[in-house]
Symmetry: C2
Subunit: 140 residues, 2 copies
DNA sequence: TGCGAATCTGCACTTCTTGAAGATTGGCAA
DNA sequence: TTGCCAATCTTCAAGAAGTGCAGATTCGCA
């Protein structure tokens, strides 16, 4: 995702308005590595801007996602998560504490795949589930 | 997933009761390659057994899943899907018509993965998205 | 055949997300 | 700088998926 300043320009260039709510969300998402949900961003945003609406958070995040500035992820954790990292990457989820981290996978071209007959695949996502270092230490 | 007859035995052996509702669901799921949702199974089940409850469908499927007889899949299609195929496999989803097929991937041991530092991965799922042969033909 | 525990049904309720309507406001033109 | 209008924001209701609960029913063993 681009910087708040760049997004401001980009929004104006597209005829979209730059509101304080949007700017706040630009800032909250930029460089954010927590894979937040709309709800958790709403919490953070509310601290800095009491009265901001959850609806606005959803709306802005969806707008950013459809502009390709961030990715929305369904990692099976109940709520959609938003990721400003739009590089080709995947995710690992801790099944105990819910922690999520970015994972980079290479060599996937060498995979041998059966059953894709005729499907035109446009996207591949790999999801790892398990226990994070902290949780796997505790569970021993 | 085992056959209805085998499941009947297995349920009794575990002290679980074998009801007509459960037997119907055993039959509907056995060999089912459609990756149905609870709702769609409920539709099918209702035809053969009017009055069966959606709650029972959810319950039975969840029971089967926790017994390891089938897998429940979150493929990002809105509702959880149930798959009697418990072999190691993955899925491809048509983004237009929603069709889902099983995909077998080999060679994934050769993947080079970065960022998994310390995570104890217990499950890996690969999801392919794209267009099925029929839909990609139409869209041309 | 009878009993008790397991199961089924029906319904309310939670969570996540979106739709709609009216109030507000950003940003361009004058 | 002022004003206007479309874009945006807030609020509220509603939809979809799934689960908890309570009372009625029924399976399966004795």
């Amino acid at each position: 995702m681009r910087s708040p300043a760049e997004l401001t320009e980009a929004f104006r260039a597209h005829g979209l308005k730059v509101t304080p709510q949007r700017q706040l969300l630009f800032r909250l998402m930029h460089g954010n590595e927590c894979h937040p949900t709309a709800e958790s961003l709403f919490q953070s945003a509310s601290e800095q801007m009491p009265g901001i609406s959850l609806r606005t958070v959803y709306q802005t995040l969806n707008d950013l996602a459809s502009m390709g500035e961030l990715r929305s992820l369904d990692l099976g954790t109940g709520a959609v998560r938003f990721d400003p990292n739009i590089d080709e990457h995947h995710h690992v989820v801790c099944d105990r504490c819910g922690d999520i981290r970015d994972v980079y996978v290479s060599g996937s071209d060498a995979l041998s795949i059966q059953g894709l007959d005729g499907f035109a695949v446009s996207n591949t996502s790999i999801l790892f589930n398990g226990l994070c270092p902290r949780c796997s230490a505790v569970s021993e």
